[in-house]
């Protein structure tokens, strides 16, 4: 690639390179072939790899996801595009009961090398059925891996890793990151799944986050000024697998931790993370670990209501200010 690819181009490049490297990799999804996908992520792949390996599907998500599981068991490495993450609810059986469990139920006799690409991204008035962040629901299911890249570098590296994985991986893209590029970030060395990354070092507070909330947090941190406001920002990158060593080291250093996610806060992934950090570092933290996620309501349509419900940089900054003043 001559110029730094944006997040969408990085995904396209990962698909291209994976398909070049291994002819068992196939793409399935609604309008992914000649149209190149609803957001254009798969553009050019149909022309390059042909109709056998890049296939449009009918609007039959449960059938397609189930077929991807069967194809994976029979020797392919399918990548399925679920047009919106919200739509996994119409095909949870192939995800939860089939893909996640078949290796286990067969005593390890089968590999399920399938990637379910799905995109989310609230904040654009897409309404309650096109705006949800359901990664916590997926991470709850043993057998599924859940990757949530926050920038183009990770989008490329983690998608390649997902396609090479012999387990089912839910690859959660954020559509609002599609146009973003970051030359400095692109120059980073690849980092494997399961390893959180310190995006911004700091000594006073730790923010643990992922997906689009990484840049929202960085922007929030930029607005802070004064003593005690040096924030360490950690991008989890993947919810499953997850090695919390980097997070624990940070929390032990700063003593304070805020977990920020776009998913609904109630029963959300932040609660799980807080519990795990407390279990390991209770006597090394200086105050309650806090969570900041979406309010517990369906994502509303009207822009002002949606801004009220979803976490954003101003509110993240306010939470961090209150931490510093505590």
């Amino acid at each position: 690639m001559a110029e730094t690819p944006n997040y969408m181009a990085a995904i396209n490049a990962a698909l291209t390179d994976a398909m070049e490297a291994d002819d068992r990799v196939v793409l399935l999804g609604i309008d992914v072939a000649a149209p190149g996908g609803v957001y254009g992520v798969t553009k050019g792949l149909y022309d390059r790899f042909g109709q056998s390996r890049v296939r449009d599907t009918p609007i039959a998500e449960a059938g397609v996801m189930g077929a991807a599981v069967g194809a994976a068991m029979a020797g392919l490495r399918p990548v399925v595009e679920v047009m919106y993450m919200d739509f996994i609810t119409v095909c949870l059986d192939p995800l939860v009961n089939q893909a996640a469990k078949l290796r286990y139920m067969t005593g390890g006799r089968v590999d399920i090398p399938v990637v379910f690409r799905m995109q989310t991204g609230g904040g654009r008035s897409a309404g309650a059925q096109h705006s949800q962040s359901l990664e916590g629901l997926l991470a709850h299911i043993p057998g599924l891996k859940v990757f949530c890249p926050s920038d183009a570098r990770d989008a490329y590296d983690l998608l390649r890793e997902a396609i090479d994985d012999d387990s089912p991986v839910c690859f959660v893209e954020n559509r609002r990151l599609y146009p973003r590029s970051d030359p400095e970030g692109w120059a980073r060395e690849p980092l494997s799944a399961g390893s959180p990354r310190v995006v911004r070092p700091g000594d006073d507070m730790t923010v643990v986050t992922w997906g689009r909330m990484v840049t929202e947090t960085l922007k929030a941190v930029d607005t802070l000024a004064g003593a005690g406001r040096d924030v360490e920002v950690i991008d989890l990158r993947t919810l499953v697998p997850l090695d919390l060593t980097v997070v624990l080291e940070s929390v032990r250093k700063t003593g304070r931790c805020l977990i920020v996610h776009e998913a609904v806060e109630r029963f959300g992934p932040g609660g799980e993370l807080a519990a795990r950090v407390v279990q390991e570092a209770l006597f090394e933290i200086d105050g309650p670990i806090e969570r900041f996620g979406a309010l517990a309501c369906p994502v509303p349509y009207s822009p002002n209501l949606e801004a009220e419900v979803l976490p954003g940089r101003e509110r993240i900054a306010q939470r961090l200010e209150s931490f510093a003043d505590a």
Partner: protein, 318 residues
């Protein structure tokens, strides 16, 4: 139902089909007995009365062909070549089980002989078989996939979505609808609507109806369907009319069925029908051999250890 030439070419071929059927029955009779005795746990669904569908269908397949089956899948697994010792040990929850004791009756699988799994979710195996057929098509492997399912699955979205896909992509898939007259406790007729084959035909599938208690009729119908699928003519549907002699699960006392109905169905016993066409000595020998084989499977299962506890957290991820 379609009439076909159904004379066996040789007695040996017929005897081979009989041997599979009597092995399935011997296996399941022991499963039912040991479930009642408490040696087998959870839920068990036997297919006694339906053996001709499994034996006839799998006789039409190559070893490399792929199947998915259902919660009532012991027969399909045996007919496709799974080892009954491993299956029995699996049902007994032992370490030597086909799936290390992690699957049980509803999740038997053995990819080494093309069995991509029984399934505890009605209809779920149909898209998986469609996907296996897709892999065969893309890899040009020449394999055919067969989805076994009951007529109860015709009401699931999985059936309709998988059928849409199979038709759209002309997949080498045979959809084998095993109609035993019931969906769990409810007679099929309760839901009205067209016959299974008619529903399939409405998708543009070629659909056939066959006497599922006649193993040769099943084999011949599936052979035709498999040949078409293998030749690239797209998916086929076979409706096999059969009878479930027992309840939905072991322990189901079937208050919803009359003794007369059960009696009439037993007259269709596919093994009894086949015995009429074979020398008595041949079937007696096959029965004795099957009994000995399955007794040994039970004996080995009972003697086998339960899985080591640390295996509970193995095989979750690749």
């Amino acid at each position: 139902m379609a009439t076909r030439a159904r004379r066996p070419k040789t007695n040996a071929e017929l005897a081979g089909l009989y041997a599979v059927m009597t092995r399935i029955r011997a296996f399941e009779e022991r499963v039912a007995k040991h479930f009642r005795a408490g040696d087998i746990h959870g839920f068990v669904h036997v297919s006694i009365g339906q053996e001709a569908v499994a034996a006839g269908s799998c006789a039409a397949l190559d070893p490399a062909d792929l199947i998915t089956t259902t919660h009532r899948g012991h027969g399909h697994c045996i007919a496709k070549g799974a080892d009954p010792e491993g299956m029995m040990a699996e049902l007994f929850g032992r370490a030597t089980g086909l799936c290390g004791g992690k699957g049980g009756s509803m999740h038997l699988a053995d990819p080494r002989c093309g069995i991509l799994g029984a399934n505890g979710i009605v209809g779920a195996g149909i898209p998986i078989a469609a996907g296996a057929a897709l892999a065969a098509q893309i890899r040009e492997s020449g394999q055919v996939a067969v989805a076994f399912f009951g007529e109860g699955a015709l009401h699931t979205g999985a059936f309709h979505e998988a059928t849409s896909l199979a038709v759209a992509w002309r997949l080498p898939l045979v959809m084998l609808c095993e109609c035993n007259g019931y969906a769990e406790f409810t007679a099929t007729a309760a839901w009205g609507g067209p016959e299974p084959a008619a529903r399939a035909s409405s998708y543009g599938l070629s659909a056939d109806v066959v006497d599922g208690s006649d193993v040769l009729a099943v084999r011949d119908a599936v052979k035709v369907a498999v040949a078409a699928a293998r030749a690239g003519d797209g998916p086929r549907f076979v409706q096999a009319q059969t009878n479930r002699f027992g309840g939905h699960y072991e322990g189901d006392v079937q208050p919803y069925r009359s003794p007369e109905e059960l009696e009439a169905q037993r007259e269709q016993d596919p093994l009894a029908r086949l015995r009429l066409t074979l020398p008595a000595q041949a079937t007696e020998d096959a029965d004795a051999e099957a009994s000995a084989e399955m007794d040994k499977a039970v004996e080995l299962a009972l003697a086998a250890p339960y899985p080591e506890l640390d295996t509970a957290l193995e095989d979750i991820y690749g």
